[in-house]
């Protein structure tokens, strides 16, 4: 290992990167753009769900009932449909995602103190949204039911409405939202976006950067020089790691300043873990670049290899406990999940070494493993 050669290589690589203005700009613009785009656009709240009502009863009671949905911010009323035959086309054409069918004698049944059935048809194309909207429907229905029960009880017993209300609702549930008290998506999302973007961008940059030399043939200069494989890899990758660390810092600023996500943890610990993670993801790019010969292949492999684990197996979009056993195993075998724990721990839970040492250890093992693999795969005597 010769430090001077490493520095020289890193300097050469750095100049090559900054001379390609568009590439250099995009290397910084892309992560920031993704952060803004996902931060503003990737809302996981289900709101304004378009829905229609079929009212066969057409009484004040049925209109009142429908109005509970119409006035809710979770639903966006698209109008009354005449009967159920119109509903097919509306749901099939994505004009509405839900239809509320109020059968005849709705008012009459309630008036007699009997349960009144209604029908809710929900588009099941997006299962997670379907479940959330079913939750909203259940909440509105139970509120209506409680109201009706309280009114009926106050009439029958001759007690004031407030007392009747208390009687039909003997248990009050207080929900405490831990770690993110407003359940605002962006707070839990913004920190995880750092993980996501730092999983996507470094492998891509690195893989393309290394394979570029292979494809253009300039790698033969390295093969025929005195530079050893270890020196080449360190020098070649240092600028990419540096760019990615700068990006990670910028994303952290965006998360805390622009999106207002609280950062409760230890900044030093977080910085250390982030550098480790960036080295890991750069290592993924390195291994990819050793396995492919063309830049197109490098880009495709980098995107497929990094998007799937980062989006699906890291806990950003999908709850980890609901993964199937095989997927859960895969999630545990890949770095994003560990860094997600670190990010969430640092931002929302204010935990540090004592709770996260295992995650850091795993990331370190990954970094060493990936660079070791890259080193083994890199040979100055290519088979041809």
């Amino acid at each position: 290992m010769n430090g001077q050669r490493i520095v020289a290589l890193a300097w050469k690589e750095w100049r090559e990167i900054i001379r390609d203005r568009l590439f250099f700009a995009l290397a910084f613009v892309v992560p920031a753009m993704l952060m803004l785009l996902f931060g503003y656009g990737l809302t996981l709240d289900v709101e304004n769900l378009p829905f229609a009502v079929v009212d066969y009863d057409k009484t004040a009671a049925s209109r009142d009932y429908a109005y509970r949905f119409i006035s809710s911010r979770y639903f966006a009323f698209q109008g009354y449909a005449a009967d159920e035959h119109d509903v097919d086309a509306l749901l099939a054409d994505n004009k509405v995602r839900m239809v509320l069918v109020i059968p005849p004698r709705f008012d009459e049944r309630l008036g007699r103190g009997e349960p009144a059935p209604v029908q809710v048809l929900i588009d099941g194309t997006f299962p997670e949204r379907t479940q959330t909207s079913m939750g909203y429907v259940a909440a509105i229905n139970s509120a209506v039911s409680l109201d009706n029960m309280a009114h009926a009880l106050s009439r029958v017993r001759g007690i004031p409405l407030a007392e009747a209300r208390q009687r039909v609702q003997p248990i009050k549930l207080e929900v405490r939202y831990l770690y993110n008290q407003s359940v605002k998506s962006i707070w839990s999302l913004a920190p995880k976006l750092i993980m996501l973007i730092m999983m996507l961008s470094p492998p891509f940059l690195t893989a393309v950067g290394v394979v570029r030399e292979k494809e253009s043939g300039s790698i033969f200069n390295i093969y025929s020089s005195t530079v050893s494989p270890g020196e080449f890899l360190l020098g070649k990758l240092a600028p990419y790691v540096a760019i990615s660390i700068a990006n990670a810092m910028f994303l952290w600023l965006l998360a805390t300043w622009l999106f207002g996500a609280p950062f409760k943890g230890d900044p030093l610990f977080f910085a250390f873990a982030t550098v480790l993670y960036v080295i890991c993801t750069t290592g993924i790019g390195l291994v990819i670049s050793m396995l492919v010969q063309t830049q197109v292949a490098a880009m495709i492999v980098a995107s497929i290899v990094s998007i799937i684990p980062a989006v699906l197996y890291s806990g950003v979009l999908l709850p980890l406990p609901s993964l199937s056993p095989a997927a859960s195993m895969l999630a545990h075998a890949l770095p994003p999940m560990y860094y997600t724990n670190i990010v969430v721990g640092c931002f929302l839970k204010a935990v540090s070494w004592h709770a996260l040492w295992l995650e850091v250890l795993v990331l370190a093992a990954y970094a060493v493993g990936l660079f070791g693999l890259g080193y083994l795969l890199f040979t100055k005597r290519p088979r041809s």
Partner: protein, 389 residues
């Protein structure tokens, strides 16, 4: 001679050139073995992983009980938190232990029942029960608190009805609203269908931007574009075969994904016309490839194309509505979704495969997609013509 043997449509010189150029593109593509291996993986293994592994739903969320009452009523309430949504995870002795288990991510929620719960319930007093939910994941947190509220609400209403003499054999005899919820198109809430199709569309999008763009820029980088320019080929005859070749390959990949993975392994229904599906897919690939070619006219080397692809791909994926509902986005983003071809393709693909709709409902999506395609393709050709004309 070859003109005569081939005959038919391709004997017209312009079409023959298109065919030869398409063959050239296909050959070039197939010779990149690593790329082809990954291409196949993307349309099989990757889609299998996405469809099999993931569920967007709350399943077996571990819940611990902090029971300070130790009564029949408190145990009854706690025992109602059952699979599929919840999984009882024992009890905790005090609040500090509850917080520690939540901190460790060992449990997702803690149900806190106060002392004298049963006593006060029987006396008709109002009693508070607390549910602490880990909302680090806000979707999961919302679902857990929503199901928790439903369970407690149902229990409370039943307890009240029993005390007030309103209970019937089948439940409650009061004027309540009973919703009969029916989920259409995917009644069992099979996540594999949604995730599988969504992943297929993502992979199709990735390849249709990147492959033609890369093929174009590679010619620029190596200088072979100059060779093409001195041939009698028009810029349309240079650009279009690239798109045709990639479209053919991507359609083959989609067929493998549908008939080799999603159909046999996940019982995807495919209710609509598959001919329509593949025609719309071809149109979509053409439109998206136009975007790729446009990027290729901006980029000078492959690395730039790669970055530009990310710049185009990610907003498209996000604004399509596959990951997150468009209705809930800020208005300016909702506006942008109208110019994302994936938005229309998503509607069409889910419509045909899950809902079984046909062109009578999809014509507007197809029209918008085709319109977008013509605009970007024309813009790409214009820029290309100016650069090399």
């Amino acid at each position: 001679m070859s003109d005569m043997t081939n005959g038919g449509l391709f004997s017209v010189p312009g079409l023959r050139r298109l065919r030869v150029m398409t063959q050239k593109e296909l050959l070039q593509l197939f010779r990149d073995v690593a790329l082809m291996v990954f291409f196949l993986y993307s349309f099989t293994g990757d889609i299998y992983l996405a469809a099999s592994g993931v569920s967007m739903q709350l399943k077996n969320a571990a819940i611990a009980t902090l029971d300070a009452d130790y009564s029949f009523a408190s145990r009854e309430l706690a025992s109602r938190f059952q699979p599929p949504y919840f999984q009882p995870a024992g009890s905790v002795a005090d609040a500090r232990q509850a917080i520690r288990r939540l901190d460790d991510g060992d449990v997702m929620a803690v149900l806190d029942v106060p002392p004298r719960f049963q006593e006060r319930l029987q006396r008709g007093e109002q009693v508070s029960v607390q549910l602490q939910v880990d909302t680090s994941n806000s979707v999961l947190g919302f679902l857990a608190s929503s199901y928790g509220a439903q369970i407690v609400g149902k229990y409370a209403l039943e307890a009240a009805a029993q005390r007030e003499g309103l209970a019937a054999a089948g439940g409650i005899a009061g004027p309540v609203v009973e919703a009969d919820t029916r989920v259409w198109y995917n009644p069992n809430q099979n996540d594999a269908w949604f995730m599988g199709i969504s992943e297929l569309l993502t992979v199709v999008t990735l390849f249709s931007i990147l492959l033609p763009a890369a093929a174009m820029v590679r010619e620029k980088e190596r200088g072979t574009i100059e060779q093409l320019m001195v041939t009698p080929l028009t810029s349309f005859q240079i650009l279009f075969p690239k798109v045709v070749a990639m479209t053919l390959v991507i359609l083959a990949g989609s067929a493998i994904a549908l008939f080799g993975v999603l159909g046999p392994l996940f019982q995807l229904p495919m209710r609509g016309s598959l001919v329509t599906f593949f025609l719309i897919t071809a149109l979509y690939v053409f439109t998206t490839a136009g975007l790729g070619l446009l990027a290729a006219t901006v980029a000078r080397n492959l690395a730039q194309v790669g970055m530009l692809t990310v710049v185009i791909l990610m907003p498209m994926l996000l604004l399509s509505g596959a990951w997150t509902p468009i209705e809930a986005m800020p208005p300016w983003m909702r506006g942008l979704a109208w110019i994302s071809p994936l938005h229309y393709f998503l509607d069409a693909a889910y419509g045909i495969l899950l809902k079984g709709v046909g062109m009578d409902l999809l014509w507007d999506s197809v029209l918008a997609m085709g319109g977008l395609g013509i605009v970007v393709f024309a813009a790409g050709m214009r820029r290309f013509g100016r650069q090399f004309g």
